[in-house]
Each structure stands twice: as C-alpha cells, then as structure tokens.
Amino acid sequence: MSPVLTLGVVGAVATLLVLFEMLRRQRLREKYAVIWVVVAVGTVLLVIFPGLLTRASTLLGVQVPSNLLFFAASMLLLLLSIQFSYEIGRLEDRTRTLAEEVALLNLRLEQLTADDPSGPVEATEDDLGGDPGGGTGDGLRRD
C-alpha cells in the first residue's frame, strides 16, 4: 500500500474506534454517529478499491479523480455544518423557553411561600448563577 492509502485506512479506522468508544460510554447519540460511520466506512472502501473513485469520475466527467473526492468531502462538511447550526438554534430556542418558564415558576413559588411561616424557599443569587461578565451579548442587546 502506498503511504496515502495507509494514511487513509489508519484515519478511518481510528475514527471508527473513537466513535465506538464514545457510543459505548454514551457520549454520542446514534443519530450523530451514523453519518460519521458512513464516512469512515466509505473512506476505507475508497482506499481498498481505488477503482471506485476513478470510475465515478469518468462517469461524472471529472478529469482529476481527487478533485471529485475533495468536492464531495467539502459538500458533506458544509451540509453537516448547516445541520448542526440548525440543531444549535433549536436548542437555544428551547433553553430560552425553559429559562423563561423556570423564572416564572420561581416567582410563583416565591409568591406562594411569601406568607408561609415555614419560611420562603428563596432562590439566592448563588443558586441562580449571576452573569456579571456580560450576557449572551452579541445580537441580544438592543441599541
């Protein structure tokens, strides 16, 4: 095997091992692991059968096979990044909603326990973790 091929196989196998270990320790959810497993297995296949890439290139009319590989890889990364941005945005929306609900529940609790002689369950600044440094900052402050 040429050095390039060796590198490819080593990289792919290492990726698979890391993925497996992360899944085993429940640090990674299957839905995110699937795509990376597919990528790693694909890499191994391409290394073992270089003919696949050449044939695909001829089929698509790409002159240099490695260009096809680079193109496909960057498209894949781009799409995945977009997918992650979407997931993060959704998580932010949900945390925001949760934060608002928690705050309102806390206020309700304070109001309910205000005249309770057993003492209010006041949330202290410590419990709630103040934000002295300067908030989420960008994008959220109105000018």
Partner: protein, 247 residues
C-alpha cells in the same frame, strides 16, 4: 386620561445590571400612576439589580442567565397572560423614559393595540446622525407603510400593548437582533394588530453609557436592513419558538 379604571395594568421593566437606576425608575413609575403592578425582569444581572428592585417594592422575576431584552419581555408578557392583565407597559430600567407620558400612551390604546412612545415625533430633542439616522429612517418608513400610519421611532423601548397584542407577544417575542423592537412590531402587524405612536421626550442617560461610534453605527445600519428584511419574509409563526408546539 389614564386608561379605564377597570383595566389591570402591568409595567414590565427589562433590566440588566441596572442596580443604580432601577429604584428611581420604579419610584417614578409608581408616582405617575399609583394603581399599577410592576414586574422587573432581572436578566441575569450580576450587580444585585433584582434585590434592589424587590426592596423598591416591585415584583421581580429573575432569569437564570442573560437572554436579552426579547427574552426578558416575553417572560413579562407570559406573566401578564397568566395573571390576566389587560395592558402591558414596557419601559426601560435606566430612567431614559419619562413615565409621566404613560397616561397619553394608555389613552392611545383606545384605538390601537400597540402604542409606541416615539422620540422623534416633535417632543424633546433626541438626535441621531449618520448611518444610524438612515437606519432609523428606513425602519420607520417601512413600518409606517405596513402599519398604515406614521411611525417615526420604531426602535423605542417605551410602549404599551393591550390584551390582544399581549397574547401574541407572550408566544412570539423574538430574541434576535432588533427582535424586541422592530421584528415584534412586524409580527404584531402581520397578525392584524394595529400600531400607533405618541410623542415622548427622551432623557439623556444618567448612569452608564450608550454605544455610539461611526463603525458601530454603520454595522447597525447593515444589521437593521437584514433584520427588517428577515422579519418581513419570515414564515410565521416560527415553529421552534412556539411553546408546546413541538412535534
């Protein structure tokens, strides 16, 4: 006149690190009209804003971390819905808005759902220059058109909303850039609420500083254009923001 006597009014004050100004603002709001409830939304302040507001006699809801004015206001609108308020007033914590204009704003609710306290509508002498001014002009022009009435200051954080608008804002109050001002107005207009304005005098900042530099002003212009364009074309309601509407 100052709103109908049977109306329950909630004043929501979004506050972030305003321990120095909040007590004065609360006292002033109280003085302008005695029969209102005040809710300070302490947006993860690190300077004890919440405690100061509480000892000044306001209800305080404390967000666990900083969400920005949009998040703070949506919390306020949700509280208003839960507690069955008829009118919500939004006013800045820093004392720049003069609560003595409240009666005029509330009177404006007779014939519209949202009333903005506008700085450029004759009263006072608030001035902006350069790109910032162009941005504000552009925003005002587009929103005036949408609203079918003249709006001169759509980025004002001084406004009142009736129940109809509060119901919308409790679900949809964007946290994005300019979302708490411009986009929330677009949302209100797009669901059929009416918006109008009343002239107010705006005071200079007493504590702390507002940001002004040519570069920031230019950035503001660009971001304003983008924010407005997005607000106009956005499919609405945004599914991700709607409470209890997740799949």
């Amino acid at each position: 006149m100052s709103g109908r006597p049977d109306q329950r009014i909630l004043v929501v004050i979004p506050a972030w690190n305003e321990a120095g100004a909040i007590a004065g603002t609360i006292a002033e709001v109280r003085a302008s009209q005695p029969d209102l409830d005040i809710l300070v939304v302490d947006d993860g302040s690190g300077d004890g804003t919440g405690a100061v507001a509480r000892s000044a006699g306001a209800q305080v809801v404390r967000l666990p971390f900083n969400l920005g004015v949009g998040g703070a206001m949506r919390t306020g609108y949700r509280y208003a819905m839960q507690e069955g308020y008829d009118v919500v007033v939004q006013i800045d914590a820093d004392g720049q808005h003069d609560p003595s204009y409240l009666p005029q704003l509330l009177a404006g609710l007779e014939d519209s759902d949202v009333v903005i306290g506008a700085r450029f509508a004759g009263e006072g002498s608030y001035a902006a220059r350069g790109p910032r001014r162009w941005a504000m002009r552009m925003l005002a022009a587009v929103l005036s058109r949408l609203a079918g009435t003249r709006l001169t200051d759509v980025t004002s954080g001084f406004r009142v909303a009736n129940r109809r608008a509060v119901r919308v804002f409790a679900d949809h109050y964007p946290a994005e850039y300019l979302g708490d001002t411009v986009e929330s107005l677009v949302i209100a207009l797009r669901v059929g609420c009416t918006v109008s304005q009343q002239p107010v005098h705006m005071r200079p900042r007493t504590i702390g500083t507002a940001s002004q530099s040519p570069l920031r002003a230019a950035t503001y212009l660009v971001r304003a254009v983008v924010a407005l364009a997005l607000a106009l074309v956005r499919r609405w309601p945004a599914a991700t923001e709607t409470l209890g509407q997740e799949k």
